[in-house]
């Protein structure tokens, strides 16, 4: 069955959003939803309409045990597990929360410098707390709001691109990430910024080879994903420094 015919998609989207789509059909549609932006948008539109019916539902204060259980599950037991963190560590938030990236950047560089001069400082920490040598880029929009976080291990061949706030990407276009070498030579394409959440981009070479001379990253809106040798077709909508973390 072709789910993507507009009429059929809208029918499924509204039944899904309402909840009347049930059983295996619901599960199948859920899988499709995660893979298809058109389905996500159709469902989003219906959820928005239906959510306007939720405002009159009487509020009920949950008992305190709900929050305590959440804290325990998310923060206490996971800290005890002491497994390698898969989420951005707390310090990274410090880097991002500041309005002025410069200040935060100075902080990170100072940290990096301190760690370099005083490796003993981290000697007492569990190994998982030590950041691997990485390239990190934080892209902000025209207003200076952190919007995209790009990071890759120094010798890795994968770049994680994470959306920190939504980017308006016109239908049929892609948000293309570019690397700008510090010697002013031509920008080269790195990969596409995901529509939501985060994505892993396979790199053409190791980060060290690609980004060693790169001082900035930027995003432009393109009609199609850029290929090697392509140039940005318009202005950058996002840009930021690309820094080495070691």
């Amino acid at each position: 069955m072709n789910y993507l015919l507009p009429d059929r998609l809208d029918r499924l989207a509204r039944e899904y959003a309402l909840g009347t789509l049930a059983g295996p059909a619901r599960r199948r549609f859920e899988r499709l939803l995660h893979q298809t932006p058109a389905a996500m948008l159709a469902v989003g539109a219906w959820q928005e309409r239906l959510a306007s019916l939720a405002s009159t539902v009487p509020a009920m204060q949950p008992s305190g045990s709900v929050w305590r259980a959440l804290e325990h599950r998310l923060f206490i037991s996971s800290a005890r597990a002491a497994s390698a963190p898969t989420r951005p560590p707390q310090w990274l938030w410090g880097l991002l929360s500041g309005r002025a990236f410069g200040g935060a950047l100075a902080g990170v560089l100072l940290c990096a410098l301190l760690l370099r001069l005083q490796p003993g400082l981290i000697g007492m920490e569990p190994e998982s707390d030590v950041l691997p040598a990485s390239y990190v880029g934080l892209l902000t929009d025209a207003a200076g709001t952190p919007t995209v976080l790009a990071s890759s291990k120094r010798h890795g061949r994968r770049l994680t691109v994470k959306l920190l706030q939504p980017v308006v990407i016109p239908a049929g276009s892609v948000a293309q990430l570019w690397a700008l070498p510090k010697d002013g030579s031509a920008a080269f394409p790195v990969g596409a910024v995901p529509v939501t959440g985060s994505a892993t981009v396979a790199l053409a070479d190791t980060s060290e080879k690609l980004f060693f001379n790169v001082s900035r990253l930027a995003v432009s809106i393109e009609a199609a994903p850029a290929k090697a040798g392509d140039k940005p077709s318009g202005d950058f909508v996002l840009s930021g420094h690309c820094v080495k973390l070691w």
Partner: protein, 194 residues
């Protein structure tokens, strides 16, 4: 309900594992969201379990929030409704497989039809689309209310309203179409929101 702008600013911080932002989102929305789960499950304990599961989900998938697809409150309501609907249906299967189906469904039917209808009517008044939605028959509005507030599927609505399945499907479809049209007309009347 909390302002959407505040939540829209908090969720990206939650995506970065900001616990304080997470707690703020929880405090601002938990009472409303528990209400939504409770309407569907009709059981406080189960609704609280669903709320907890939903917020575990919020913590882990806040990066998936995309304001260009749906607003933050819509996103949260949707997580809670989906979890509540799943819990409701999982519970039903369990009950049906462990005890013989009795009159339970019919016993609660009368009350079930009443409350959702009132919630829907209040919402329509608040949205100022009572007149527009009034063009639907009472049964059509009732079918929509049972599906939305109670998480009922077509067969359950048919049972509650004692109507043929095909008719109920048409009622729900028509109810949704009308809701869309009325909201769009109201939007045009009001002009775009600032």
């Amino acid at each position: 309900m909390p302002a959407d702008e505040d939540l829209a600013a908090l969720l990206p911080r939650v995506a970065l594992s900001d616990r304080a932002a997470f707690e703020q989102v929880y405090r601002a929305t938990c009472a409303h969201l528990l209400g939504v789960a409770f309407r569907i499950l009709n059981n406080r304990e189960r609704a609280e379990e669903v709320l907890q599961e939903a917020f575990v989900n919020v913590w882990h998938s806040a990066a998936g929030f995309n304001a260009s697809v749906a607003g933050p409150m819509t996103w949260l309501i949707n997580i809670v409704r989906n979890k509540a609907i799943d819990a409701l249906r999982a519970g039903k299967t369990e009950r049906v497989s462990t005890i013989a189906l009795d009159d339970e469904v019919l016993a609660v039917a009368a009350d079930e039809a009443q409350q959702p209808q009132e919630l829907l009517d209040q919402s329509l008044t608040k949205l100022r689309i009572t007149g527009c939605m009034g063009e639907l028959g009472a049964s059509q509005r009732q079918a929509l209310a049972l599906a939305y507030y109670r998480g009922m599927v077509h067969t359950e609505i048919a049972q509650a309203l004692r109507a043929p399945l095909g008719t109920v499907k048409a009622w729900v479809r028509r109810g949704l179409d009308k809701l869309k049209a009325c909201l769009e007309a109201a939007e045009v009347r009001r002009g775009p929101l600032p």
